[in-house]
Symmetry: C2
Subunit: 219 residues, 2 copies
DNA sequence: GTTTCGTTTAACAATTTTGTTAAACATAAA
DNA sequence: TTTATGTTTAACAAAATTGTTAAACGAAAC
């Protein structure tokens, strides 16, 4: 039917474009540069995505959905509140390590095109709504100082995401190698938990703990 | 000598370009768009700045220096530690209200041109160095839970800056008008102080407190 | 008034970038 | 082998963008 059907050119283009934007941070990459990265002819980008803008929209939408799903999965789980948050930090930081410039991309694209945000957010279940009940219970039990769910979540994502956004600056300012920077972010998992709850991470550090497989529990 | 000498075309271009990049968040603005914003002929941008890249470099350098000086002024003052931090939050948030996309610009430009960071940071007095002594004293006196100066500062600037970076997204997600967003950031001053020190802001809120005039004290 | 000199402008040139298209290509079906 | 169909390519066209330049302009000095 088609040439090299298993290569899935469309997916390759998206994958390499993601790499270019989200990992290498080249937010002004041209269609030619994307094509080069994917090792395909530039016209294929138009063949599959019609225009550069539509490719960008696709990438943006998928990225936002992916992040949203990650957040939703953890925050709406049945885990105890602090376990949830701990897991959330872990996942966001790990994800940020993989795609250091994703947040930057989201922010830049939405700034360029503010009406695009409405489409992205209209069906969005806000993270703050997902943890509001838990949070209010914690506060009622006196286990946490009063704070609104909105500010709580924004504190959390600020602490997780800013060091990713500022990667280049931080790395140079503190003379960190790439491995040193990774270590730095690993350390931050505990720091963030501490800043949020004003107490150390419970028990063992949870570096390898987040599940890649469905939970065994079901009954 | 010159046409409209008091107009200071060069300064107007820089000012309007700053407005375009830092306030409106149009990070891909062309020279034509900058010229239109400034109400001048596009060639003047080359006349004064030689190339688009050099204009960008100038803006970037000035922005970074301005921010650095603001931070340095507060953090190296003789105020008590918590006063310093409180003032710092106030200034950073206010500055962020004025230039919501400045951080974004810095991050994008340095990502596009990583060697530019070295020039910007080589003489930089790190904020973490400015508060290290204070911080260690606070910790030694048992008034603050142990944390490194680096993480402390990064927590602080993360909490201050991320909500500015994510302005467009946050505003749309929570359906905030511009005034509601300003109010939200005002509220955050206290929230941030609270997250950092695990206790409420001392005494009166300090909305109008930061001095625009030199301090009376001298002797 | 004219000269001078820095500033401003319009017009031009070169380059980059996006988007289109017709032809070439490869595979599967006939 | 031929045909049909979806994919890929090179070449082209159009638009956008940057950078240059010669001429126009305007205020101050002569």
């Amino acid at each position: 039917m088609s040439t090299i059907p298993e290569a899935q050119t469309e997916a390759v283009i998206k994958e390499k474009a993601k790499s270019l934007f989200f990992q290498k941070g080249f937010l002004n990459a041209t269609t030619q540069e994307i094509a080069d990265e994917a090792g395909v002819n530039r016209a294929l980008i138009h063949y599959y995505f019609r225009s550069r803008d539509q490719l960008m929209d696709t990438l943006l939408e998928e990225a936002v959905n992916e992040k949203r799903e990650k957040a939703r999965a953890v925050l709406s789980s049945a885990l105890p509140f602090r376990e949830k948050i701990s897991l959330y930090i872990d996942i966001v930081v790990e994800y940020g390590l993989k795609y250091p410039f994703l947040e930057n991309f989201i922010i830049t694209e939405t700034a360029r095109n503010p009406e695009k945000v409405k489409v992205l957010c209209q069906t969005k279940i806000k993270s703050s709504d997902l943890i509001r009940k838990d949070l209010e219970e914690e506060i009622a039990k006196g286990r946490l100082l009063p704070i609104t769910a909105e500010h709580f979540v924004i504190n959390l994502i600020s602490l997780c995401n800013y060091p990713l956004l500022a990667k280049t600056v931080l790395q140079n300012m503190h003379g960190m190698s790439d491995t040193a920077y990774r270590k730095f972010l690993q350390d931050r998992k505990e720091i963030i938990y501490h800043a949020i709850f004003h107490e150390p991470l419970p028990r063992i550090t949870r570096k390898e703990e987040h599940p890649h497989h469905p939970k065994p529990a079901k009954q």
